[in-house]
Structure formats: C-alpha cells, structure tokens
C-alpha cells in the first residue's frame, strides 16, 4: 500500500471502530517508514473529529463513538512511544472525577474515552471524589483541565464547593474548570464560576481544546 492508502485506511477504519484494522494499518505504516506524526495528524485525529461531528449531528450513536475512540486508543498506544516530541501527541492533561456524594460515572467515562482518543492524557479519580482529593491530585499532576461530573441536583452544589477549595488552595488560576452531567446547564456552570460546560462527550473534547488554546494564547500575550 502507498502511504496515501495507509492514511485512507486509518481514517476509514477508525471511523467504523475497527480496532484490529487500525492497529494493523499503523504497524504497516511504521514498517514502510511512515512518520508516526503523519498517521496521527493526517488520519487518526481527523477521523475521530469526524466521529465527534457525526455524533453531535445525531448521525452517530454512543456505541459507535465508543468503538471508534477505542480503535484510536489502540493506535495511540503503538504510536505514542515513537513520536519524536512526546508532547506533540498530548494535547493536554485532563483530571476527571465524579463529585463527592455521587457515584454516577457512565457519562464521565464516555468523556474520558473521547478525551483519550483525542490525545488527552486523562487521569480519572473515579466517583465520590471529595474536594481535598481533587486539590491533592491537581497539585500532583498539574493538569490543564479539571472536570467535575454530577448526575444529581443534590450533588451539583459540589461544583461550587470544589471551586471554593481550589481558590482557597491558590490553584484556581492554574487550572481550567469544566463541569457536566445530566442535570447541569450552561447557566448553572456560569453561576458556580466554571470555565466551561459541555452537554456530551464529543462537545467536551471540543470545549476542552478551545479552552486550552484560549489559555495558551493569553499566556503568550
């Protein structure tokens, strides 16, 4: 296969979530000397972006998004150690957790899979995560974004509690705060002082990328 054909295959097989074919394509590409960066940026990432776009349009459904992201993860596992600049495969670090008092994690896990597929380094703290744990882990991992997930109207106030804890620890300006979960709205996200809100996993990826870019621009200015 030509390099062009390999890229085409990676794009199409990621789109349909065919993990073995994607891994095979990546290995074939490497064997014939293709640069890992090319496979990542010219095929895999655009393909997963298309998956996200289809999902947001309602053309793709949750299982299709999941298997596409998993196929992408398989490719990343092979490519990551080979990338000349390891940073280039990493859009940013995303620290994620379901807030204290809440154990719902399906939505959060979908976000994690899409974020990882998009090249984020995702650190998942699991469910029922108290503010002090978020603080401790933010200090340790220095993430670009921290995501708070809540499924209940009773646990949503933990967003504010977590943000207050960040302020108290002097970390608020060092991390982007995103919130989400079934009952959460943009209005609520604004009211608690979060930086971003997304209604679904695909939008969360786009929003996180946007916010990181904005922040980097600000730092440069």
């Amino acid at each position: 296969m030509t390099d062009e054909e390999i890229l085409q295959l990676l794009y199409e097989e990621t789109l349909t979530g065919n993990a073995p074919a994607v891994a095979g394509g990546v290995n074939d590409g490497l064997a014939q000397g293709m640069p890992p960066e090319s496979m990542l940026f010219d095929a895999l990432i655009p393909s997963l972006e298309e998956v996200g776009a289809r999902f947001e349009r309602g053309d793709y459904f949750v299982p299709e998004m999941l298997i596409a992201a998993r196929a992408m993860q398989g490719a990343l596992d092979i490519l990551r150690p080979l990338l000349a600049d390891n940073e280039s495969a990493q859009i940013g670090t995303f620290l994620m957790g379901t807030v204290k008092g809440d154990v719902h994690d399906i939505g959060k896990n979908l976000c994690n899979i899409m974020l990882e597929g998009a090249g984020f380094n995702v650190i998942d703290l699991g469910v029922n995560v108290p503010p002090e744990k978020f603080i401790e882990q933010i200090e340790e991992h220095q993430p670009d974004v921290v995501g708070f997930s809540a499924f209940l109207t009773t646990t949503m106030p933990m967003f504010k509690a977590n943000i207050n804890a960040l302020e108290k620890a002097g970390l608020r300006d060092r991390v982007i705060v995103m919130v989400g979960g079934a009952p959460v709205t943009q209005e609520y996200a604004d009211a608690v002082g979060a930086d971003g809100y997304a209604a679904d996993a695909s939008t969360a990826v786009r929003k996180a990328k946007e916010l990181i870019e904005l922040r980097r621009e600000k730092v440069l200015v």
Partner: protein
C-alpha cells in the same frame, strides 16, 4: 409480597402475581429545557397535561421529580404533587435525592406514596428511612452505595439485602421496600442489561421483594429507543421485575400488557381484550 400505594381514592398494588405497575416517567425536568424553564416561571400547565396524557396512555402511577438547578426543590415538589393530585387519580412516586424535599412532599401528599429513593449508603438509609416510616410510605431502594454502581449481580443483591434489613430496623416491612436493581445503558456496555436481568433473578429468588427500574436508561445513546424499551420490559418482567418508571408511549405500554398476559397476570386476557375493544371503539368514534 404486595406493595400497596394509594392516591386520594385509588389503590394500586405492586406484586409478582399482579399486572405490571407502569409508573409514568415524564414529570421530570432533567433534560427537558423548556419544561424546566416553565416550572421556574411557575407555569405548571405542561405538568398537568403530562399527568393526564400518561394516565390516559396507561400509567398506573406517576413519578414526580422537581430537581431543577438553583430552584427550591421542596417548594416546587409540593406544588407539583398538589397539581398532579388535583389533575389525575393515580398514586405518586415522589422522586428526589433531597431529604428535605422528600419530607415536604410526603407531608403534602394525600394517600400512600412510593418514595424514590434511598441507596445502600449508611447516611442515606439513616436520613430517608425514618421519613418513610413516619409517613407510612413505601420506598425504592437503589442497589448502589458510595463506592459506585456495582457491575455484578452479586454486589447488587448484597446491597438489596442491606436495604431490606435496614428498613426492618425502622419498622418498614419488606413488602414496602421496592428494590431497584439498576437498569444501565446497553449502548455503553454490552453486558449491562444481562447483568441487570441476572440481579433481578437473584433478588427475586432470595428476597422475593418487588422491584422497579428506570426502564428508559437501557436505550440511552441509541436510535429507536422505544423499541428497545419495549423489548427490555418483558424480559425484565420474566426475571422478576414488577414495576418500572418508564415511557408511556404506546409501543412500550402494549408490550408490557402483552407480557402481563403471557406471564399469566391477566386472566383469560380480559385486560388485553378490553384494551383492544377500547381502541376499536375510539377508531369507530372518530370515523363516524
């Protein structure tokens, strides 16, 4: 084992030898932007219409949830309960994770309510069960705790045992505990529904209690959700499910009523045939 719920005048019995108890899911602002805004503005007209439509479509009971961010949930819940009781004659499943709201809702409710819900977490059991006991209500027990939603059926059975035993400590009989074995989205995990069905069989065989799930969860993230819900319910009923908070769309209601007949809970198909005649009569009425 019978769980008896009452509105002002109507009694509904949930039981393994009874027709399935359909609890309409619609009066819930989560994920309903326009409805949430109406409720915020004090406009309860959609809630009244939803109550009527669900009962007309075959709901035996109605779930009422008033969880809107930044809104006084207890106050809104009391208003909604009053409205639903004035609008239709069906017992209510009072749905909130806010203990104060449950308390206010139970105090306002006329009849015998089903409280939705308690979990197997110690602090939730200690907060919710005394309210249920004080108001002589029944309660739904979710089979999870603070460590997460259990993946396996065995863990869910363990939580169910704990909830039934904690309820007994507060004088609540097992017949007034309706266990929720947790219906999860099959689109996010291929094994999800198989695990739930297994949990149902184990809970039925060991505890014999009534069970309830949020049936629409199974089809989250997938197309043609109603067909999936309609296929799930008869399977769950065969595994011991006796009630569900669910869509009252025609295809879903009819599949549960068909399963009632097939499982021997609709003697000689009397309800099934009566429903058919009612539809026929409605068609003739519009034709003439």
């Amino acid at each position: 084992m019978d769980t008896v719920l009452r509105s002002r005048t109507k009694t509904v019995v949930i039981g393994s030898d009874k027709p399935f108890c359909i609890i309409g899911e619609r009066i819930n602002p989560t994920g309903r932007k326009v409805f949430a805004q109406q409720l915020r503005d004090g406009d309860l007209s959609t809630a009244a219409a939803d109550a009527q439509a669900q009962v007309a479509a075959g709901a035996d009971m109605l779930d009422v949830n008033a969880g809107i961010p930044l809104v006084d949930e207890a106050e809104l819940l009391v208003k909604l309960i009053g409205l639903v009781q004035d609008t239709v004659d069906a017992p209510i499943c009072i749905d909130s994770s806010v203990v104060e709201a449950l308390d206010a809702g139970l105090s306002a409710y006329e009849g015998r309510a089903l409280v939705n819900s308690v979990t197997a977490e110690d602090d939730r059991l200690e907060a919710v069960l005394p309210l249920v006991a004080a108001h002589g209500a029944a309660v739904i027990g979710l089979t999870n705790d603070e460590t997460g939603i259990p993946h396996t059926a065995e863990e869910r059975l363990r939580h169910a045992r704990k909830i039934v035993s904690a309820a007994a400590d507060y004088g609540i009989e097992a017949c007034d505990v309706v266990i929720d074995p947790l219906a999860m989205p099959v689109g996010a995990d291929t094994e999800a529904v198989a695990n739930t069905l297994q949990a149902m069989r184990m809970i039925r065989d060991e505890l014999g209690v009534n069970m309830c799930v949020g049936a629409s969860n199974v089809s989250f993230g997938l197309p043609d959700r109603l067909t999936l819900n309609a296929a799930f319910l008869p399977m769950a009923m065969a595994a011991g499910l006796t009630s569900a908070i669910m869509s009252t769309a025609d295809v879903v209601v009819r599949s549960t009523r068909a399963a009632d007949l097939l499982l021997g809970h609709d003697e000689w198909g009397a309800s099934w045939i009566a429903a058919h005649r009612a539809r026929q009569a409605a068609v003739e009425a519009t034709a003439s």
